[in-house]
């Protein structure tokens, strides 16, 4: 081991991804000398604000394809309608096993594309769905604008700050490789092919979660496009409530285009798996609660029973019993900790010192998409009755077993709320149970799966978003947060997405009583500033902006000054006048018209 164990507590100042927008009253000198033809151009695409509901087309369902295609005028990335060459490939290229059919699909290249697409959708009354790798797909997206974020490839490692800035299209394996070059490591998921952003917004239970906490606890800053089409930085200092909700609220509050995540000085760990014959399931599962109860935070483990393929990875009887083990500390200590489970005689033992880049081998998750029913619950404890139920449903003697069950040992650092706090739920849970099975005959839960969930529910303390599974019932989704946090999320939703533009996935409904009369709650500056931003795209003169916004020229100058100071617009300061070259171009341009 090359690194000290224990939670990393480096807390540098939060680094915003984009400069915050605040109205300051004008620091840029000489604004009052800008003549009315001074050209102002928006530096980032800032789309129009939310259209009031009454003026919308009903559901946007009657929109002609021609109108949907106009989205291509607003974005740099590709745009497809169903049936277009490339549409099916873009949808199918993800990990998702769910057949999405949005009205229009956008391959967003940058936050400006995301902002433009969100505005485009909102203006037409269409919902917005987001997909990077498709690992989070719950149910088919059958309407609206779908954003494919795979092209958003930002990845920067700051070795001094020990952070990585990660775009929405980046997967964990890329961050692992980039961080490893600096002797650093991210709190990645068990499957490195999973996208960073979606995983982290749902909390994120990494193979080292008991040591360091949820991955979302180590987000330093986020860049998010909210339903009003604005690209916003969110961190402890900027939009702190939004920052609270993004970390754990999954995709409910906006499209996160990038995250800054903390990295840890870890280059290796002790990890791997013990694979047992199906006949050992009883012994391993009965030993697991007592064994894990004595583990320190340096050790994170899980155990799974898998009937997938109906044959045992270890060569024996189904199910495969797979104990996953990760320890941040010296190999000798790890061996001592693991000894009681090794005494149960695994058929295959891969636990050893691993370079961090090999962390994906600990869980050895399947890398192919599987169209399966999934369901997860959190447990406050793992009493004998629960172990019996699991063995009865998925053990070697089960006549009609569910395909797979995983029990993760939680707690440790995950139980502690971070500073600043976030919306991640499940901190009081000590174990998580995750069930995978074939869909039921009606496309819903399979009967045996439903019975298993019913048997476990009395012991359940809730769920965690990333492991909710194939769930759409909002009452079940609500169990992913504490009652207080869920209400707080709904109030936040009412403020930043009152019309529920982001309604796919694990939707949190907006709290009806908290719907604001206007969206003045967000840090956008006065509505006049927003109007100017709209008008200054791609560029306009002060005079035109004043006429278009019906603002006095003097007011426009002050607001433009603030927008320029915030980096939102660029002012093309006129010089002493046109140069000869420009005059000649102008003369040619005029003569062409005559």
């Amino acid at each position: 081991m090359s690194t000290p164990p224990g939670p990393e507590s480096r807390d540098g100042p939060p680094r915003a991804l984009v400069r915050p927008y605040t109205l300051t009253g004008g620091r840029t000198a000489a604004a009052d000398s800008w003549p009315p033809e001074t050209v102002v151009s928006a530096t980032a695409r800032v789309p129009s604000p939310r259209t009031p509901a009454p003026s919308r087309p009903a559901d946007g369902r009657d929109l002609p394809d021609g109108d949907l295609r106009r989205l291509a005028d607003h974005v740099r990335g590709p745009v497809w309608l169903p049936g277009d060459p490339g549409f099916a490939e873009e949808i199918a290229s993800s990990y998702s096993s769910v057949a999405h059919r949005p009205r229009v699909l956008v391959g967003a290249r940058d936050p400006g594309d995301v902002a433009a697409a969100v505005s485009f959708a909102v203006e037409r009354g269409l919902p917005v769905a987001v997909q990077a790798t498709g690992h989070g797909a719950v149910r088919p997206v059958d309407d609206g604008v779908m954003l494919s974020t795979r092209r958003m490839r930002t990845l920067r490692v700051d070795p001094d700050a020990r952070t990585a800035t990660v775009g929405a299209g980046v997967v964990w394996s890329e961050v692992i490789a980039a961080a490893a070059r600096h002797g650093l490591a991210p709190l990645c998921g068990s499957a490195p092919a999973v996208g960073v952003v979606g995983y982290t917004l749902g909390g994120g239970i990494s193979p080292l979660a008991r040591t360091f906490g949820f991955t979302a606890d180590h987000v330093v800053a986020a860049e998010v496009v909210t339903a009003d089409g604005h690209v916003r930085p969110a961190d402890e200092a900027h939009e702190p409530e939004l920052f609270w909700g993004l970390r754990g609220g999954k995709g409910n509050l906006g499209v996160v285009t990038a995250l800054v995540v903390r990295l840890f000085p870890i280059t290796s760990l002790v990890g791997g798996g013990l694979f047992f014959d199906g006949d050992a399931a009883d012994a391993v599962l009965r030993a697991y609660p007592g064994w894990t109860a004595g583990l320190s935070e340096a050790t994170t483990t899980s155990v799974s029973l898998s009937h997938l393929g109906r044959r045992n990875r270890a060569g024996g009887r189904s199910p495969t019993v797979h104990l996953r083990f990760a320890h941040v500390g010296p190999p000798e200590a790890a061996a001592e900790i693991l000894a009681p489970m090794r005494a149960l005689v695994p058929a295959l033992d891969t636990v050893g010192e691993l370079p961090f880049e090999a962390i994906g081998t600990i869980h050895d998750d399947p890398t192919e998409p599987a169209d399966v029913w999934k369901r997860g619950l959190l447990l406050g404890d793992l009493p004998p009755g629960v172990v019996e139920t699991v063995l009865r449903t998925a053990g070697p003697d089960a006549t009609d077993p569910v395909a797979g069950i995983e029990i993760r040992h939680l707690g440790g650092a995950m139980a502690r709320r971070p500073q600043p706090d976030n919306a991640v739920g499940g901190r009081d849970a000590r174990y998580g149970v995750f069930i995978v099975d074939a869909h039921g005959a009606d496309g819903g839960a399979p009967e045996r799966g439903r019975r298993l969930v019913e048997a476990l529910e009395p012991h359940s303390t809730g769920a965690t978003v990333n492991f909710l599974g194939t769930v759409t019932d909002s009452d079940v989704v609500a169990t992913a947060w504490t009652r207080e946090d869920y209400r707080r999320l709904r109030a936040l939703k009412a403020r930043v997405d009152p019309d529920e533009v982001f309604r796919f996935g694990y939707a949190v409904p907006a709290l009806a009583d908290d719907r604001p009369d206007d969206d003045a709650g967000l840090d956008t500056g006065p509505p006049e500033a927003r109007a100017i931003l709209e008008a200054a795209r791609p560029w306009r003169s002060l005079a035109e902006i004043a006429a278009g916004t019906r603002l006095p020229l003097g007011v426009v100058r002050v607001l433009v000054t603030d927008l320029a100071d915030a980096g939102h617009v660029r002012v093309h300061r006129p010089g002493a006048g046109a140069d000869t070259d420009q005059l000649e171009r102008a003369l040619r341009g005029l003569q062409r018209r005559i």
Binding site: V18, A115, G577, A578, L583
Partner: protein, 226 residues
């Protein structure tokens, strides 16, 4: 890897906006001229004349004009759209000056950085043009005097107008129909060409017109030397 943050987006090339001031006496057709030449619907602020303002603004020679411009009206010509959103874009803004004398405080701002001024004149009331010409004479602005032929008629020749206004030979005097797009555009081309000529001439300023006549608007004939 691309940049993720919007504010880091390359700002693109600078847009150079050119400006031409469309000047002239009240009711001479400035708003019409801007509207004819502009690519965009001219943006303007007009108010219907009231009895009180009739007392201030002399409508006796233009009885058909019912409204007057009390703020800037302006238009835009996109002379070169450029390759992308901003690359190489060359907009030309036309600012019509407020016609009434009481709004002249706005002129100083308007003429700053302008390519030049088109001074529209109405031969029925040449006298009214003197204050405008007088003002512009105190600036370095290249000007073209355009005789707006109402109803397409030009009862007085260009030379007669030049003489009546005491304009130097170097100041172009053209005829135009402010309602006609090609005619208005041609007038602008004359101005830009003149601005290039003035700039090209190393001597800079052309000879001053005789100021004394314009400071005495009662004198309508002749433009004697100083």
């Amino acid at each position: 890897m691309d940049s993720s943050a919007g504010s880091e987006t390359a700002p693109g090339p600078t847009v150079t906006a050119l400006k031409v001031v469309v000047a002239g006496a009240f009711g001479v057709g400035k708003t019409t001229f801007v509207g004819s030449a502009s690519d965009i619907t001219p943006l303007r602020t007009e108010e219907v004349m009231t009895a009180a303002s009739v007392g201030v603004d002399d409508l006796s020679a233009t009885p058909d004009k019912r409204s007057t411009t009390v703020a800037m009206d302006f238009g835009r010509l996109d002379l070169d759209p450029g390759d992308t959103d901003t690359a190489g874009a060359l907009p030309l803004y036309l600012f019509g000056t407020p016609g009434q004398y009481r709004f002249w405080f706005m002129w100083d701002e308007l003429v700053r950085g302008a390519v030049g001024a088109v001074v529209l004149v109405d031969t029925r009331r040449l006298l009214d043009s003197f204050p405008v010409l007088d003002y512009l004479d105190r600036t370095d602005l290249p000007i073209v005097v355009a005789i707006n032929g109402f109803d397409g008629e030009f009862p007085h020749g260009v030379d007669a107008v030049r003489e009546a206004l005491a304009l130097p030979t170097t100041t172009p005097v053209v005829t135009c129909d402010a309602r006609d797009r090609a005619s208005a555009t041609g007038t602008l081309a004359s101005l830009v060409g003149h601005a290039l000529t003035v700039r090209g001439g190393a001597t800079g300023r052309e000879p001053q017109r005789v100021a004394s006549y314009r400071r005495d608007p009662q004198t309508t004939t002749g433009g004697a030397a100083r």
